[in-house]
């Protein structure tokens, strides 16, 4: 394997709030190869967006604080060199956000915002005179930018792209706004895209269209993408590789098909179980809730909710990532490093299963930390 384009290793992020120190990310390892789409999947509050923002360098600091870890992009260490981070972020990375209405300004037409992104992204030095000129619509390369915007909007299958440039976001439908956001992210020809739940606010039929478009664009330009979502179905459609995240830790990494066919980590298994399927649904969900980050559980962060938790091991020893059967990585004490895949599979189906146990009724109370 060649060197990955993006390499996050041991990333730990904390937040200082009046409730105390929240240790949100706890040693996140993540790689994205060139031309690859990696999905980062997890539930609300598991740290997906914090990971994305750390990579993008938009983490608010304070209260955020990167306590450990490194982020390498194409060999450049981003965290140690602020200038390099700014440069890489502007020239090579782009981000697509979840809710277009919060990221598009309601008072500027689409075309003007796209032109601003094209002009200023990457923190290029602009004098106040340039800014004023641009504000008055006397941008030097106005025509060129406009042409590029129209072409991009057309690629995003927006009907009447020229007219769309002069419209305000409120005049566009939800799907159209999301297309504009994607077009904006692509306007400076980035190499690396971070998509933070870009289809969550959309209806399924529109979501499908956006996913198709995104996939086409990514393939056409050979982009690398980190796709953040809580929807495993969406991850399955778009990703080459999937990282499952729980409470600030990556618990399982594998190729998309492997994750869905043979999930190993108890959390992944519970998550897949919980999703209603067209074929039927007998899932029981996972007891408990995501832990309080001010006082995360010792050992494996999942152990209070885990059906296979081993007393004396899971609640004491921190977990490492174990390589299982070739290219799978799973952070769980059930498995050993270098274990064969078949053996791991057998353990998974024996131990990590969820049963509806009426005895343990007040389920959600068990996992503490909700005060």
């Amino acid at each position: 394997m060649t060197r990955p384009l993006l390499d996050v290793s041991g990333l730990s992020v904390s937040f200082d709030t009046y409730e105390g120190r929240h240790d949100v990310l706890n040693g996140v390892d993540l790689t994205v190869d060139e031309g690859e789409t990696v999905a980062l999947v997890g539930e609300t509050g598991c740290g997906k967006s914090v990971t994305a923002r750390s990579i993008m360098g938009t983490l608010p600091r304070p209260p955020g604080d990167i306590t450990a870890g490194e982020i390498h992009y194409d060999g450049t260490n981003l965290l140690s060199d602020k200038g390099a981070h700014e440069r890489v972020k502007g020239d090579e990375m782009s981000m697509i956000f979840q809710d277009p209405m919060t990221y598009l300004s309601p008072v500027y037409p689409v075309g003007s915002m796209m032109a601003d992104v094209a002009t200023y992204s990457g923190g290029k030095n602009a004098s106040w005179w340039d800014v004023l000129k641009n504000l008055l619509g006397r941008r030097e390369n106005n025509a060129e930018i406009r042409e590029r915007s129209i072409e991009l909007l057309d690629r995003m299958r927006i009907p009447d792209p020229e007219g769309a440039l002069d419209r305000y976001p409120v005049e566009l439908s939800g799907g159209m706004r999301q297309r504009v956001i994607i077009a904006m992210a692509l306007i400076n020809n980035p190499e690396f895209l971070i998509a933070d739940e870009p289809t969550t606010a959309l209806d399924v039929t529109v979501q499908n269209q956006i996913l198709d478009l995104l996939r086409e664009r990514v393939e056409e330009r050979n982009l690398s993408m980190l796709y953040i979502t809580h929807n495993l179905g969406v991850a399955r459609e778009i990703a080459d590789r999937i990282c499952i995240m729980y409470a600030g830790e990556i618990v399982e990494v594998g190729r998309t098909k492997e994750i869905f066919d043979d999930p190993l980590h108890p959390y992944t298994r519970g998550l897949l179980d919980s999703i209603p399927k067209l074929t039927g649904f007998d899932g029981t969900g996972i007891d408990g809730q995501i832990p309080d980050y001010t006082d995360p559980p010792s050992g494996c962060r999942f152990h209070p909710r885990c059906p296979a938790a081993m007393e004396g091991t899971c609640d004491v020893d921190p977990v490492d990532e174990y390589q299982v059967g070739g290219n799978r990585a799973v952070a769980c004490h059930l498995y050993d490093d270098g274990m064969g895949f078949d053996e791991a599979e057998a353990i998974a189906s024996d131990e990590a299963t969820y049963q509806d146990d009426d005895e343990q009724r007040p389920a959600e109370v068990g996992a503490g930390g909700d005060t």
């Binding site: 529109v206 929807n231 649904f281 969900g285």
Partner: protein
């Protein structure tokens, strides 16, 4: 069961020809619907100018008819803005109707007010989508759950306290939660409180408005199984409003697929997923992101999904779905289709099954073109 749904809508169209309807009725002669909605309309005025003159209407619910039988879960699915929440709230009499009728348990409740309406509320309750906004943050859980009991003056003070404990048990929450405030609870727990409040006055009918869509999947599954258990235990009838087809498939007995204020297809869940008749349902089904390869096989062959829901203020002429439809033909923007029963309990609104509109459709067609008409008994 739903054989007599579109009585006023589709008239005596093709159903009387088939004779299946009569047969179907004969099987279950005694079951009366608990909720029976006919031609329900809810229009929102679009106002203009200082004096709020109404300029036009948004027809959020436009002539919807359906029955819900006791003990059944009837689901309404559709994309955002199709009117499903308005439908739910109108059926629960939270909104005034613009037209049509709602019959609950044999009584016409369309125009109830005052005391009579309050009486109805004992039997009809609602669970909302986002528990963080449906629970008052300044009241303790106990008071939140007790409020409906106070309003309806159920039992003595001590009995109400006892009832709160019982309700907390029913929704699997520990009793000490009664002293907490909603913000001390997680999303799933809050939704349990909302459910406890809804079932406090022992309603017969509960409208569930996207009860799980604000929750994470692992919690969602828990809430779904709780609702399922409660339905068996307390003999509840549900109207489930959702946008999640995979969820609905597993929970609902019958499903209405809604688009721009009206049902495009009504069927029991088996029929709908195995044999979707309406092109809109096909598009919805083919767009679900699934997680298993054998689920993929259950979806209809991939249909290219086009466009988005049009502006409900200016709905397209003819069939409201025609600009996005992959099976569109000439008549579609001229003739408005009606709900037609194609097989027992399975209704669709599409000019490919024109029903009584057959003549009209044929007139708009160029020569040599014919339409399928499954209901008319034409063999393909």
């Amino acid at each position: 069961m739903s054989a007599d749904i579109p009585d006023t809508d589709a008239g005596d169209g093709p159903r009387s020809d088939t004779g299946e309807t009569a047969m179907h009725r004969a099987e279950e002669p005694t079951v009366n619907p608990l909720v029976s909605v006919r031609d329900l309309e809810k229009y929102y005025p679009v106002t203009e100018g200082v004096i709020r003159r109404s300029k036009s209407y948004v027809k959020a619910v436009d002539g919807v008819s359906f029955d819900i039988f006791p003990g059944e879960t009837f689901a309404v699915v559709g994309e955002s803005g199709c009117g499903k929440t308005t439908l739910g709230k109108t059926v629960a009499r939270l909104y005034e109707t613009t037209g049509g009728s709602i019959v609950f348990d044999g009584q016409d409740v369309t125009d109830l007010d005052g005391k009579a309406l309050r009486q109805l509320r004992r039997n009809v309750q609602v669970v909302y989508q986002d528990p963080s906004s449906s629970l008052n943050p300044r009241r303790r859980i106990e008071n939140i759950i007790k409020e409906p009991l106070d309003v309806h003056d159920v039992g003595s003070k001590a009995e109400r306290r006892e009832r709160v404990a019982e309700l907390l048990r029913l929704v699997d929450l520990p009793e000490e939660f009664r002293h907490r405030y909603p913000n001390a609870l997680s999303g799933g727990q809050k939704q349990r409180v909302a459910i406890a409040r809804a079932i406090a006055v022992e309603p017969k009918f509960v409208v569930l408005d996207e009860p799980t869509s604000a929750l994470d999947v692992s919690v969602q599954a828990k809430i779904i199984s709780l609702l399922d258990d409660l339905q068996d235990e307390l003999d509840l009838t549900y109207l489930l409003i959702s946008h999640d087809l995979s969820l609905v498939k597993n929970v609902a007995d019958r499903i209405g697929v809604m688009y721009l204020g009206n049902f495009m297809e009504v069927a029991n869940s088996e029929q709908l997923f195995q044999n979707p008749l309406n092109p809109y349902t096909e598009q919805l089904l083919s767009a679900i992101p699934v997680i298993e390869s054998y689920e993929q096989e259950l979806k209809p062959t991939a249909v290219e999904v086009q466009g988005e829901t049009p502006d409900p203020q200016n709905p397209p002429s003819g069939c409201s779905f025609n600009p996005r439809c992959h099976r569109r033909f000439d008549a579609c923007d001229a003739v408005e289709p009606v709900l037609v029963e194609v097989e027992p309990g399975h209704l669709t609104r599409c000019l490919h099954d024109p029903g009584e509109k057959r003549e009209e459709v044929i007139q708009t067609l160029p020569e040599g073109v014919s339409v399928e008409d499954r209901a008319g008994g034409r063999t393909e």
